[in-house]
């Protein structure tokens, strides 16, 4: 069958960075073509070329065999190409319905916007995505990341596209939601839509894709039918080398209790949380979206200070009322949203790395620039951050490397407790393995690690103990031996049903 959309020898560079080097790629109706590559390989850039956001420096774009030039995203959309971008591009002040239909809203005969119809259509689209609880009148700014992701997808679906491009649509989704989304993708594929799918999650690729193409450092590496390739081969195509084992959980000696929470609550978001973190231990928290895991982390880090209960550090009661205080007590938090919470993207790597330990590199408040630079260089080396140097702006780094900057910045504060919220979200396998290895190493050095993750395999693979949260409470606890996909998954689901009954 003829490809509906094809790229031919497309190149694109940004201020000297060759993001794409003569890449060819195509997608046919009724197939899911997966696009793989490490962080910074150029996947999102390629997608933006197809979507008309970036004009290619050279090379051709063909729609149904005809060469086209997209001067703007509008033209790409007119050609039947809909895109779900990696960084969610929504309007926080507008409603869900309006976000879905902005730019192509239904009209009345008077050519005025037809709000009732817009809301109904939005309802229908969201119901299609099994998002019955998402209010079409809600302000998008008030939604969780996962719900925003759903809005993005509904928006793409609303356009009746012939080509649907999805850039890491499941990165922010928990397993169950990801599965629901995959069902939707299959349905669309069966309807004859051509789908370009980017994800770092291998199982999804093998469950969904018809073909897979790989980019490395902006260059096209190859394409294969999904049946003709194994996971290991795919990984080595992406990385250019064999990758260390994922979830390299080293058995470390578990020490004394560092941090203890007793019946901690914050408003009505989390309630009666009791848990202990011990030196050298990795505790994983599993849960569905909105189960309150992030809320718990925010409370432990002083963003939303606890409104009830007790927190003890080394057995002594403490109050954590601000992130600054948490940091000074030796608690570090690698947040969920790295662009907004983790980094100052317009600043340099050096400035980001030193931001949480300014006191330590300054005398009488004056920052020692030499110390700061050498610290930055050392961390870049130690964490294998791929960058031109400490003076590169974080904005210009790929997602994985940005994540490493956040990690490095917090590890450099030499914390005793490290809370990681979705530490490998949107991270390629290579980087993921590195982060996992790092996590193991840190635990080995006596850190108490609390890891929140929506990827069950990651939770199970990395944790000494697994806590399951639902509705703002801890509802189950498993030690490593008993934490199986079945047991944890059942706990997550059961409590969900319980909550619904209640």
């Amino acid at each position: 069958m003829q490809p509906i959309l094809a790229l031919d020898g497309v190149s694109k560079s940004f201020a000297g960075v060759h993001a794409l080097k003569s890449v060819s790629f195509d997608v046919r109706p009724g197939e899911v073509h997966a696009l793989m590559g490490e962080n910074g390989a150029g996947k999102s850039t390629l997608i933006k070329v197809m979507a008309g956001v970036h004009a290619p420096d050279s090379g051709d774009i063909r729609v149904n065999g005809e060469v086209v030039r997209f001067a703007s995203p509008r033209e790409a959309r007119a050609a039947g190409i809909a895109t779900v971008y990696q960084e969610l591009l929504l309007f926080p002040e507008l409603s869900v319905a309006e976000n879905i239909f902005l730019g192509h809203a239904p009209r009345t005969t008077m050519n005025a916007l037809d709000w009732p119809k817009m809301r109904n259509e939005a309802r229908r689209l969201l119901d299609d995505l099994d998002s019955h609880d998402l209010d079409v009148d809600a302000r998008v700014g008030s939604l969780s990341v996962a719900n925003r992701q759903r809005v993005e997808i509904a928006k793409a679906l609303s356009q009746d596209a012939r080509v649907l491009i999805m850039d890491e649509p499941t990165a922010a989704l928990a397993d169950a939601d990801a599965r629901r989304l995959m069902d939707v993708v299959r349905r669309l594929r069966d309807r004859g839509v051509a789908i370009v799918y980017v994800s770092h999650r291998m199982p999804e690729i093998f469950a969904l894709a018809t073909r897979v193409s790989v980019l490395r450092d902006g260059a096209y590496v190859g394409t294969s039918d999904i049946g003709d390739i194994t996971e290991a081969e795919l990984v080595s195509m992406m990385v250019g080398r064999p990758v260390d084992q994922l979830f390299p959980k080293a058995n470390t000696e578990i020490g004394a209790t560092v941090l203890e929470l007793r019946n901690v609550g914050y408003r009505d978001e989390i309630e009666n949380i009791s848990l202990t973190l011990r030196a050298g231990e990795i505790v994983g928290i599993a849960g569905l979206i909105g189960s309150g895991r992030t809320e718990l982390a925010l409370t432990m880090f002083g963003i939303t200070p606890a409104t009830s209960g007790e927190i003890l550090l080394d057995g002594k009661p403490i109050a954590i009322t601000s992130p600054k205080q948490a940091r000074d007590l030796g608690i570090a938090y690698v947040p969920e949203d790295r662009g907004l919470q983790g980094l100052i993207k317009s600043q340099t790597i050096r400035e980001n790395l030193s931001l949480s330990l300014l006191d330590r590199i300054s005398t009488a408040s004056i920052i020692n620039r030499a110390k700061e630079s050498s610290l930055a260089r050392e961390l870049i080396k130690r964490f294998g951050i791929r960058a031109r140097g400490p003076e590169q702006r974080v904005r210009q780094l790929s997602g994985g490397n940005q994540q490493k900057v956040v990690l490095a910045k917090w590890v450099a504060t030499e914390p005793r407790v490290l809370i990681m919220d979705e530490p490998t979200r949107g991270i390629d396998v290579g980087a993921k393995a590195e982060i996992h290895a790092l996590m193991s190493r840190l635990a080995g050095q006596g850190l108490a690690v609390l890891m929140i993750s929506s990827e069950l395999p990651e939770v199970l693979g990395m944790s000494d103990r697994v806590l399951v949260m639902n509705n703002g409470r801890i509802v189950a606890e498993f030690d490593r031996a008993h934490a199986t996909p079945d047991s944890v998954g059942t706990a997550m689901m059961q409590t969900q049903t319980l909550a619904e009954v209640a």
Binding site: F14, A15, G16, F301, I303, S322, P323, K324, A326, R327, D328, Y333, P335, L340, Q341, G342, L343, I344, K345, S346, Q347, T348, R350, E351, S354, L355, S356, L358, D359, S362, S365, I366, I367, E391, K409
Partner: protein
């Protein structure tokens, strides 16, 4: 020189070149422009705006704005008179109290902005009216005059041949430049302006930083108020009306991004000097006041256009 420093200095470099050209051009227009006496005198005239502009640089770097500075200046001027004349306090005590009152005005701005999350523009728009109203209400339109001679040293006197207030401005410029450029507080200021959430999640006391900055802005406006009273020998409740526009123009001309996260004290000082040089030099060259205003408006727009174009070429 590092890449950041280079990119930070880019606007300042353009501005410095522009300033040199303007100074040269003005000097050829009038032989009375480029004289020590005139330049020192201009320094005296720009001190109040300059002082407030230093604090405003911090405010704008955090992504905020303080429109109430002119009103705070007026309020401190009135309070200085009231404390001294009506309450009979010794003048030095009245001076200190008046400056502190300015600080309280700034503190209230900071509280409204950090506690109640009111956008700075709106918060200070409201206090712009509020503080001016207080100045009018407290003064009941009366002026306080008849200050002792020693008090005028501050605004009309000289120390080692240089206007007294210029020393104060000079010292504060250095302090401000060091704080913003070299200290942890400066770093916190930039981080807050560039990404407030990110700064908070990095353990920066964002609210504390902002409170300090708005309070400092009020304090400095208070100091400017006292200097102003000393310079003009009287207090009036309409003192400092419209000061905020001059201050913001100087800061923005100096390359501080109105969106926050970017700006330097050097830039502000250059912007300030450029503005004052234009006002003075054009007047000396026979251009009337209204013509001067037009030129300043044009220079502001053109300077920012030029630096935008240059820096975009640089960044790609």
């Amino acid at each position: 020189m590092t890449a950041t420093l280079r990119s930070l200095l880019r606007h300042e470099t353009i501005l410095a070149i522009l300033l040199v050209i303007v100074l040269a051009a003005l000097a050829t227009q009038s032989d009375r422009f480029f004289t020590t006496a005139n330049l020192l005198n201009q320094g005296r005239l720009m001190t109040e705006v300059g002082l407030v502009a230093l604090a405003m640089t911090f405010v704008i770097v955090t992504g905020g704005i303080d429109l109430s500075v002119g009103s705070i200046l007026g309020l401190t001027a009135i309070l200085l008179g009231v404390f001294w004349h009506n309450l009979g306090l010794p003048l030095p005590a009245a001076m200190v109290l008046a400056v502190l009152a300015g600080g309280i005005g700034g503190l209230i701005n900071g509280l409204i902005i950090t506690r109640f999350k009111v956008p700075p523009l709106i918060a200070t728009l409201a206090t712009l009216a509020l503080y001016r109203g207080l100045a009018e209400g407290i003064s009941q339109a009366r002026s306080v005059r008849g200050y002792p001679e020693w008090f005028f040293v501050l605004g009309q006197g000289e120390v080692w041949g240089v206007p007294t207030q210029l020393w104060i401005l000079g010292v504060l410029v250095i302090i401000a430049a060091v704080i913003l450029g070299l200290t942890t507080f400066g770093r916190a200021t930039y981080a807050t302006g560039a990404n407030e959430t990110g700064a908070r999640f990095s353990g920066i006391g964002v609210d504390r930083t902002k409170m300090l900055i708005y309070t400092a802005s009020g304090l400095v406006a208070g100091v400017a108020g006292v200097i102003f009273v000393s310079r003009v020998s009287t207090t009036r409740s309409d003192m400092g009306t419209g000061l905020e526009l001059d201050v913001i123009t100087a800061v923005v001309l100096g390359g501080t991004s109105i969106f926050g996260g970017r700006g330097t004290i050097i830039g502000t000082v250059l912007g300030l000097i450029l503005m004052q040089a234009l006002k003075n030099g054009l007047a000396l060259s026979g251009v009337k006041g209204d013509g001067t205003i037009v030129v300043i408006g044009l220079v502001l727009i053109l300077a920012i256009v030029a630096s935008n174009i240059f820096s975009r070429n640089g960044d790609g």
